[in-house]
C-alpha cells in the first residue's frame, strides 16, 4: 500500500505540462460466477485484469476493443458503479477506490457518464426539464427560477430548443435524446465525462453531429473525456491518446498519431487492418484474424492474444508480457518488443 502511495505522488509531479486527472493503478474487476447447489462462487470472469493508465486534464483518452474486452466495465468501475476487485482509482489525487455513501455521491459530481443507448437511458415518465434538473436538485441549492434558467441554458448549449423543457424523451429522435443525456451529464459541471459508445446507436449523419458537439463542449467546459467505442475511426477522430484492450488487458497505449501510423501490437495491427477501407480502389489484403475472442472466464495462459495471433511464438503461451514503453509515450504489451 505504502509503495503505491509514494508512486502516486511521483506520477503527479512527473506530469510534465498538465496535471493528471485520473490515475488508474493495477485495476481489476472480476465478476463472480455462481453455481452448484449452494450458489457458491465457482469461478470469476476477469472482465478487467490489471489495468493501469492515466488521463491528463483536458485530454481525451479513447478505449477501443471488441465486445467483451472489458472497456465498458472499466468505465463503470471508474465511476464506481462497480466495485473494483483490486487496484486503485485516483481522481484528482484523491483515492476513490473504497469510498462509499455520501462521500462517494459527493465525489461523483466531478465525473459523469454518457450512455450508449439513448432510448434506454432516459426515464420515460420524466420530462426533459426534470431529467436535466435532477442532478442540480440533488447537489445545488437553487430556487425554482434559477433551476429553470440553468436547465434552459444547458439545453441551448447542447443545441436543443427551449420547448424541449416540457417534452418527454419519446418525442425526440435518437440524436436529440443523446443531446439530452449530454446535458444531464454536464449539469454539475463535471471534470471528467465517461462516454460509453455514445454514438454507436446513431446514424452516420447524426453521429457526426454528436461527435462535433462533444468536441465543442470539451473546449467550452474544460472537460476531460474517457471515450469508449468499438469503432476505430470514431475513436481516432475524438482522442488524443488511445488504449487498445483485449480480454480485460491493455495491450497497447499510445498517442493517436503514433498508434495509427505505427501500430505495434499484432492485435492492434489486425484491428486497424479490419476497418473497411473507404476508398474502393484501395481494397487491401487485410490481416483476417481467425476464430473468436476467448471467454474471459477461462482466458488463455500467457499472452491473452496468443491463440489468435499470427505471430505467436512458443513462449507466448507461457509468459504474460507487461506493458513496456517502446517509444516515448508508446506502450505495448508484447514479447516481440
Amino acid at each position: 500500500m505504502n509503495k503505491i502511495e509514494t508512486k502516486k505522488g511521483s506520477i503527479q509531479k512527473k506530469g510534465t505540462d498538465k496535471e493528471t486527472l485520473l490515475d488508474i493503478q493495477n485495476l481489476k474487476t472480476y465478476y463472480p460466477v455462481k453455481g452448484g447447489f449452494l450458489k457458491r462462487t465457482i469461478a470469476h470472469v476477469k472482465a478487467v485484469d490489471d489495468l493501469s493508465f492515466q488521463i491528463k486534464k483536458g485530454e481525451t483518452l479513447g478505449l477501443v476493443g471488441e465486445s467483451g474486452c472489458g472497456k465498458s466495465t472499466t468505465g463503470r468501475t471508474i465511476l464506481r458503479l462497480l466495485k473494483p476487485t483490486d487496484g486503485k482509482i485516483l481522481f484528482g489525487g484523491k483515492d476513490i477506490t473504497n469510498i462509499s455513501g455520501s462521500e462517494l455521491r459527493r465525489a461523483r459530481q466531478d465525473f459523469q457518464m454518457v450512455f450508449q443507448d439513448p432510448y434506454a437511458s432516459l426515464n420515460p415518465t420524466q420530462s426533459v426539464g426534470d431529467i436535466v434538473s435532477e442532478p442540480l436538485k440533488n447537489f445545488k441549492k437553487m430556487s425554482k427560477k434559477e433551476l429553470k434558467e440553468e436547465v434552459l441554458d444547458l439545453l441551448s448549449r447542447v443545441g436543443l430548443p427551449p420547448e424541449a423543457y416540457h417534452k418527454y424523451g419519446h418525442e425526440f429522435s435518437g440524436g436529440q435524446r443523446q443531446r439530452i443525456g449530454i446535458a444531464r451529464a454536464l449539469a454539475l459541471k463535471p471534470k471528467l465525462i465517461i462516454a460509453d459508445e455514445p454514438v454507436s446507436a446513431l446514424d452516420v449523419s447524426v453521429q457526426s453531429q454528436v461527435l462535433n458537439l462533444l468536441k465543442e463542449l470539451q473546449g467550452e467546459f474544460d472537460l476531460t473525456y474517457l471515450f469508449i467505442a468499438h469503432d476505430l475511426s470514431v475513436v481516432k477522430h475524438m482522442s488524443d491518446r488511445i488504449g487498445v484492450m483485449y480480454l480485460g488487458n491493455l495491450v497497447e497505449i499510445a498517442t493517436n498519431e503514433s498508434l495509427y501510423a505505427e501500430p505495434l501490437h499484432p492485435y492492434t495491427q489486425a484491428l486497424i487492418s479490419a476497418i473497411p477501407e473507404t476508398d474502393p480502389k484501395k481494397r487491401k489484403n487485410r490481416i483476417v484474424l481467425q476464430g473468436d475472442v476467448p471467454s474471459p472466464q477461462n482466458p488463455p495462459s500467457g499472452c491473452p492474444f496468443h491463440t489468435r495471433c499470427p505471430m505467436a511464438k512458443e513462449e507466448c503461451s507461457k509468459i504474460k508480457p507487461a506493458l513496456k514503453e517502446v517509444k516515448p509515450g508508446h506502450h505495448v504489451a508484447c514479447i516481440l518488443y
Binding site: 471488441e66 465486445s67 429522435s173 446514424d203 452516420v204 449523419s205 453521429q207 457526426s208 453531429q209 461527435l211 462535433n212 468536441k215 468499438h230 469503432d231 476505430l232 475511426s233 470514431v234 481516432k236 477522430h237 495509427y260 489486425a270 484491428l271 486497424i272 487492418s273 479490419a274 476497418i275 473497411p276 477501407e277 473507404t278 476508398d279 474502393p280 480502389k281 481494397r283 487485410r286 483476417v288 484474424l289 481467425q290 476464430g291 473468436d292 475472442v293
Partner: protein, 342 residues
C-alpha cells in the same frame, strides 16, 4: 452453373420497376418505398445504402414478399426475377423461390435462428424442402455446408444449438443456410452490423469468396459506406424511400453527385485524414406521414437547395455514363422538357 451462364446473360437477374410499398397507419396507406426502379445484373454485388428509415429493408422484404401481413403491402410496380414476374405469385409458388432461388440473411443472427432446434435440424429443413434428398444425405450436405463457411468441427456443431455459438459463428450458420440451395440471388440485410470489426472482416471475406464460387448476385443492404466500398460493384443510395443516386462503386466514392451522398461521405471520420469538424446534415428525415408529394425529399435539409427544389420533383436519370442522380443541380434530372413528350 453452365446452364445459368448460357443464353440469358443479357437480361438482368432482378429487375424492379416503379416499386411502391406502403404501410397502413390508421385507415390509410403511406408509402415507405416510392417508385423505386433498379436492376441487379448476374454475379454482381449491389449495395443499397441509406440511413435508418430510408426504406432499404422494406424494399428487400417487398422482393421476398415477407412484408408484415395486413400492415405492409406492395401497392404498385413490377418485380421481375430471372425473366419471371414474381410480385403476383401466390404464397405457395413464392415458397418455392424463397430459400432456393432467392435467399436472405438478416442483421441479428441470434433472432434469425430458432433457439429450440439444432443447427443441423434448421439446415436440413431448407434442404429437405427444396431438394429431392433423404435425411441422411441432408445431414451429410449440412456438414459440408458448415465446413464451406469456415465453421470448425462441423460434425459436432451440426448437433449444437444456436446459443452455443458466438455471434460471428451464428452469422456463418445463417450464410450456410442461405446458400444451401445455391441461390441465384442473396439478399444480405446489414449482415455485419451486429458484429465486431475483426469478425466483420471475416464475414465480408466469406461473402466475397462465396459469391465468386457460386457465381451468384448479392444485394448488400447496409448503412456503412466502408462495407460498401469494400465489397460492392454497384451502389444505390436511398433517401426517404427514393433512390437519389446509383452508380459504380469507384465513381460513387470519387465523385458523389447528390448533395446527400456528399454529406454522408463527409460525415464519416476517415482513417487517413484528420479534420476537426465533421460534416453534419441538419434537421430530420420527414416522417412517412408528411412526406412531401412534390419536390425533392431532401430539399428541407439540403445546403444546396434552390427554390425550385420544393416544386419540381427530380428524376433519377443518367448524368454521366453509368451514373444516375436525382437532383435538380444536374440538367438531366429536370423533368421539364420531357413533360410535353408524355
Amino acid at each position: 452453373m453452365a446452364r445459368q451462364l448460357s443464353g440469358q446473360n443479357e437480361t438482368p437477374l432482378l429487375e424492379v420497376k416503379d416499386l411502391q410499398t406502403g404501410f397502413k397507419i390508421g385507415k390509410d396507406y403511406y408509402n415507405a418505398v416510392e417508385k423505386v426502379s433498379f436492376k441487379v445484373d448476374r454475379s454482381k454485388i449491389v449495395g443499397i445504402v441509406g440511413e435508418s428509415g430510408c426504406g432499404k429493408s422494406v424494399m428487400s422484404l417487398s422482393i421476398m414478399q415477407l412484408l408484415p401481413q395486413g400492415i405492409g403491402k406492395v401497392r404498385g410496380g413490377e418485380i421481375t426475377f430471372d425473366g419471371k414476374n414474381i410480385n403476383k405469385l401466390s404464397e405457395r409458388e413464392m415458397n418455392k423461390i424463397r430459400g432456393k432461388d432467392i435467399s436472405m440473411i438478416f442483421q441479428e443472427p441470434m433472432t434469425a435462428l430458432n433457439p429450440v432446434f439444432t443447427i443441423g435440424y434448421q439446415l436440413n429443413e431448407v434442404l429437405l424442402n427444396h431438394e429431392n434428398i433423404n435425411k441422411k444425405e441432408a445431414r451429410q450436405k449440412s456438414i459440408a455446408l458448415l465446413k464451406s463457411v469456415g465453421i470448425p468441427r462441423p460434425e459436432k456443431i451440426v448437433d449444437e444449438y444456436p446459443h452455443q455459438l458466438s455471434g460471428g459463428m451464428r452469422q456463418r450458420v445463417m450464410i450456410s443456410m442461405a446458400i444451401a440451395c445455391q441461390p441465384k440471388l442473396l439478399i444480405a440485410d446489414e449482415p455485419t452490423t451486429a458484429l465486431d470489426v475483426t469478425v466483420q472482416a471475416q464475414i465480408l471475406e466469406l461473402l466475397k469468396d462465396i459469391q465468386k464460387v457460386n457465381n451468384m448476385s448479392i444485394i448488400m443492404i447496409t448503412h456503412d459506406l466502408g462495407v460498401v466500398s469494400e465489397i460492392c460493384d454497384e451502389v444505390i443510395v436511398m433517401y426517404a424511400g427514393k433512390i437519389v443516386e446509383r452508380t459504380d462503386v469507384v465513381k460513387l466514392f470519387e465523385e458523389p453527385k447528390h448533395p446527400y451522398t456528399q454529406l454522408l461521405m463527409g460525415a464519416i471520420p476517415k482513417m487517413d485524414e484528420r479534420k476537426e469538424v465533421l460534416d453534419t446534415i441538419e434537421g430530420l428525415v420527414p416522417s412517412i406521414k408528411d412526406m412531401p408529394q412534390v419536390g425533392c425529399r431532401f430539399a428541407n435539409r439540403c445546403p444546396k437547395a434552390m427554390p425550385e427544389c420544393i416544386t419540381v420533383t427530380p428524376e433519377l436519370l443518367e448524368d454521366d455514363v453509368d451514373h444516375e442522380v436525382a437532383c435538380l443541380l444536374y440538367e438531366n434530372s429536370k423533368p421539364l422538357e420531357r413533360v410535353g413528350g408524355r
